[in-house]
């Protein structure tokens, strides 16, 4: 073998060894990769599978349409309207600030709007769209769509907004909606949706859960930039149920047309407590709340001394005056402190120690039995009755009539009012004086009662049943309990006592000498009303004024007494009950009774009472 061949053999030997080492090393490294793949795909596979699912799945909520509010005739009083809006999904843009900057160059945004959007973006999960701007015009929409490439994460979609066709006429009943605040977040994911509204007042608030419905969900497959590839699963939400209320819109409007600022009118179905009209003046347009109330608008409302935002029938507090006298009479009868026929002499005043309590008729009424005392509204008779039975018995009777107790009406914020008792007075650190009892006998004093509670009292007097005032007739087309009179329990007051009250109240309106004699219902209606007037002082009348021949119509308006009237009709088969409070109306017979008469006449004209109710029992759930 030559030297060269030996060399070659040696080189080949070295090479073969090294090539094998190199090849083995490479195969070994590939083996490492195989092991790595095994770890990723099998040992940790489940974890990565979950991550992949999260990657591609994006759950979105579907907002169901909010239920409508219908009046008793099925007229729409709150509905949904299309609303084009620009939305921003934070996770789809690298820089929210920059996107908003670009957006405001296309559709100008105020500083406040930008701050709100940025706050919403922080508060919500990053895939939840946030409303940038609502109520877009066609032109704005076109501009946004055209600049879409420069607006990552921004999309235009159509949502709904609330519309109240009757505007201010039903504002205090139906209420309004507004975007949810932090406090409203009750765990319902629906509230995170852009443009969602929650009920803030009235029926909208009371029935918010029912009207709101339940959110649907849609599982979307999205790609890396969040674009929707396809829908994987859709669970439709439950749309909000329609709520039918007992108000008759036309009647409501007619009532409101008759009243002035500061007047409250409550008209109820005496048999079941349904509120037919709830008139107050002034009012506001609930549609304004939809797009956000401007600071100027808010100032205008709050600065108005006539308080347009306050619903006086449920939140105004008044002393009942003489309209309270039936309660005192019934309490005296129940306590067996008097009889129908007992006569109390009225000399025009009653003396208690050194204090003299005047009757409204300074010359005196003479001998008064219960019926006459109510008819002419003799004060001395009721001073005497109150003195006999004491304030606590009066208060107990008043509560049975719904006075000074919370009522079940669907208007959040409704005041319970105040029915004074000895205990209450002691709570104030003062003993109850006999003089207090006497004054309270004629409905003056510490009472704080709402017109609604006076209407409730009247309905209970008229029917003897503990009807609760309420607004809901049907939910989702299903009638609620309480439409029939039999749904309501009896008050437990002897029928004879009640008959006496109705008889006396009929006399107030229809007999010679009754305080509301001039306010009889027009004879062509063929029905008569029964009622009771009331006048409550807002300032104490001094002896000096009285002796000088004081005349209330000479007082400045805000010092004049409030005028009240409660009544029901027909007197022999009550259907309607109403309460009227005219602030500073001077006299119940002069201002309140004629208004009540007009309201009841209107009610008879518009709602022909039919057996078992008024008008259609439940409005058909009309297709949307």
């Amino acid at each position: 073998m030559s030297r060269r061949q030996r060399e070659e053999e040696r080189a080949r030997g070295i090479f073969t060894r090294r090539a094998l080492v190199l090849g083995a090393a490479q195969m070994g490294l590939l083996g490492v990769l195989a092991h790595r793949l095994h770890r990723l795909q099998v040992e940790e596979g489940e974890r990565y599978a979950t991550l992949a699912e999260e990657n591609r799945l994006s759950a979105r909520l579907l907002a169901p349409p909010r239920g409508r509010v219908l009046d008793r005739e099925g007229r729409i009083v709150a509905a949904n309207q299309l609303n084009w809006r620009a939305l921003l999904v934070a996770e789809q843009t690298a820089d929210v600030g920059a996107t908003l900057e670009t957006f405001s160059r296309i559709v100008p945004l105020t500083e406040q709007e930008r701050a709100r959007v940025e706050r919403d973006v922080r508060r919500r999960r990053r895939f939840v769209p946030v409303v940038v701007r609502e109520f877009l015009t066609w032109e704005e929409m076109a501009r946004i769509e055209m600049n879409a490439p420069d607006l990552p994460g921004v999309s235009v979609d159509v949502g709904t907004t609330r519309i109240y066709p009757e505007a201010e006429h039903l504002a205090h009943v139906v209420g309004y909606v507004a975007p949810p605040s932090e406090r409203d977040m009750d765990g319902d994911p629906l509230l995170e949706l852009p443009g969602i509204r929650v009920g803030r007042a009235g029926v909208e608030r009371h029935h918010d859960r029912i009207l709101r419905g339940r959110a649907g969900t849609v599982q979307l497959e999205v790609n890396a930039v969040g674009r929707v590839i396809r829908e994987l699963d859709r669970r439709e939400g439950v749309q909000g149920d329609d709520v039918q209320i007992s108000i008759d819109t036309e009647l409501q409007k007619a009532v409101r047309a008759k009243i002035q600022d500061g007047t409250s009118v409550v008209l109820m179905d005496a048999r079941n407590g349904e509120v037919l009209a709830l008139g107050t003046q002034p009012s506001f347009d609930p549609n304004i709340f939809n797009s956000g109330v401007s600071a100027a608008q808010w100032r205008q409302w709050t600065a108005n001394r006539a308080t347009p935002l306050i619903n006086k029938p449920t939140n105004g507090l008044y002393a009942p005056g003489s309209t309270f006298k039936m309660v005192v009479a019934l309490a005296a009868l129940e306590a067996r402190a008097t009889t129908f026929g007992e006569r109390v002499h009225c000399p025009g005043h009653m003396d208690l120690g050194r204090t003299r309590f005047h009757c409204w008729n300074r010359y005196g009424h003479g001998g008064m039995d219960m019926r006459t005392a109510l008819k002419v509204s003799c004060d001395v008779y009721f001073y005497e009755m109150a003195k006999r039975i004491g304030i606590d018995r009066i208060a107990a009777m008043a509560r049975r009539f719904g006075l000074g107790v919370p009522l079940d009406i669907e208007l959040p914020g409704t005041k319970a009012g105040l029915m004074p008792t000895r205990e209450w007075r002691l709570g104030q650190g003062r003993p109850w004086a006999l003089g207090d009892t006497v004054v309270h006998g004629i409905g003056q004093g510490f009472y704080q009662l709402t017109p609604l509670s006076l209407a409730t009292m009247t309905a209970r007097l008229a029917t003897g049943r503990a009807v609760q005032p309420h607004l809901t007739r049907a939910i989702g087309g299903r009638p609620v309990r309480g439409i029939r009179a039999e749904d309501w329990p009896s008050l437990g007051i002897p029928a004879t006592h009640l008959r006496m009250m109705r008889e006396a109240m009929w006399a107030v309106v229809n007999e010679q000498g009754g305080t509301a004699r001039t306010s009889r219902l027009p004879s062509e209606l063929g029905v008569q009303m029964a009622g009771k007037t009331g006048t409550t002082q807002v300032r104490r009348v001094s002896r000096e004024q009285r002796e000088r021949g004081f005349r209330v119509d000479q007082l400045p308006r805000e010092w004049r007494p409030h005028a009240l009237f409660v009544g029901f009709a027909p007197h022999d088969d009550p259907v309607f009950a109403c309460a009227v409070v005219v602030e500073h109306g001077t006299s119940g017979s002069g201002a309140a009774a004629p208004l009540a008469r007009d309201v009841l006449a209107e009610a008879f004209k518009r709602l022909r009472p039919v057996p078992g109710g008024l008008g259609p029992r439940v409005a058909e759930a009309t297709p949307r």
Binding site: A11, F15, Q41, A224
Partner: protein, 383 residues
């Protein structure tokens, strides 16, 4: 020796047809299999359609096949004779793209040759292997011990590596050095010299790190902790791992890979094609493909062992290592084992340059196999 002589005689006079039959058809079939895997994966990456990737991949492979088989029949002695000319040509191309890139105002790594794009750094690796194999072809054990003898090939590695690094393409530069190292190792360079170089790298690496581009530093830092920047540089690794992991043992099924089809996977048709395969066909599919690729590499070593001349052996080792490094770096990259670097998976990834240069390399490898018995001391054609 008689047998050997006869072989050489036959070889000298071998006709084109005879050479054609000597082509290792099993290996060609193997490559077709790998390309078919690429077609399937690219069909999926194209959203379940031959366009825009799979069809072009097939056409390119067909073209590459012709080039490869042609080179396979080129006499190995011719290749050896022009080895250094090829090397100079490769360096020239690198300089050209460097100048062109400077004029173009950016990192230009491509040269357009008609419809084909050529990445000189890819071609350079093959030309370098050929040149180094030629240099060490007849080196005796004694000469291998002479440091002066090793200096020229070291410079031959350093020049293209530096040019590629300047492009800047850190990954490819390192791969070039490693291929050169593999040829050095196979040629019989003393082991202590390797130890010395590795120690020197250990010392110099931190210094070199300071001179890296920011994006290159970012790749290293995100490699160490990819989750630190999930939407930025680490995004690719995380999404790739999610895709792999969610594939599981059996995969999500052909065209069912969510990560790839929903574009969570970046560059799924090029650097992350393996992820796509692993997502849709699971560990079973991934390992099958890896096995196929290992077989390709193993063939390279087979050629090295059966070759009767040192040039062919070194050539085979260098070219096998070249393909191994593509495979290893790419798969290690998508599995988050080593830092992200734009290394494709040739024959499977979409992209003409890597495929063409790889097939040129395999052509040379096959030529070494076809001419494994050639006597390189005699010139081509003469006795």
């Amino acid at each position: 020796m008689i047998f050997e002589r006869r072989l050489l005689l036959r070889d000298r006079g071998a006709g084109v047809l005879e050479k054609f039959w000597r082509i290792p058809w099993l290996f060609v079939l193997l490559l077709c299999g790998v390309a078919a895997v690429g077609y399937v994966a690219l069909y999926s990456a194209g959203g379940g359609a031959p366009e825009p990737y799979a069809q072009r991949h097939a056409i390119r492979f067909g073209f590459g096949l012709v080039v490869m088989l042609s080179i396979a029949m080129v006499d190995i002695r011719l290749i050896q004779r022009f080895a250094w000319l090829g090397y100079v040509f490769g360096v020239g191309l690198l300089v050209l793209v460097e100048l062109h890139g400077r004029v173009g105002g950016g990192a230009q790594r491509w040269i357009n040759i008609g419809p084909l794009q050529l990445q000189p750094s890819e071609l350079m690796k093959i030309l370098l292997v050929v040149a180094l194999a030629s240099w060490f072809h007849r080196a005796s054990w004694e000469r291998m011990g002479n440091p002066l003898f090793l200096l020229p090939p070291l410079i031959a590695i350093a020049i293209p590596a530096a040019l590629i690094f300047k492009q800047p393409n850190l990954g490819n530069a390192l791969i070039t050095v490693m291929i050169g190292g593999a040829v050095f190792f196979a040629a019989g360079v003393r082991l202590w010299k390797f130890a010395l170089v590795i120690a020197a790298i250990g010392v110099l690496a931190p210094i070199a790190y300071d001179h890296l581009h920011d994006y290159q530093k970012a790749r290293i830092t995100t490699f160490l902790d990819p989750e630190s920047d999930p939407l930025g540089a680490g995004y690719n690794i995380i999404q790739s791992k999610i895709a792999l992991g969610s594939g599981g043992l059996w995969g999500k099924g052909f065209l069912q890979g969510t990560q790839g089809h929903l574009n969570f996977l970046p560059e799924k048709q090029t650097d992350f094609i393996f992820t796509m395969i692993a997502e849709e066909f699971g560990l079973v599919g991934a390992l099958s493909v890896l096995g196929l690729l290992a077989a390709v590499i193993a063939f390279g070593f087979l050629v090295a062992v059966v070759s009767r001349h040192q040039f062919g052996r070194l050539l085979a080792v260098g070219l096998a290592t070249n393909y191994f490094l593509y495979v290893f770096v790419n798969v290690a990259m998508v599995t988050g084992t080593i830092p992200v670097g734009g290394v494709p998976l040739p024959l499977i990834s979409h992209g003409g340059s890597a495929m063409l240069t790889t097939m040129v390399g395999f052509g040379v490898l096959m030529s070494a196999y076809v001419h494994r018995g050639a006597d390189l001391d005699a010139g081509p054609g003469d006795g």
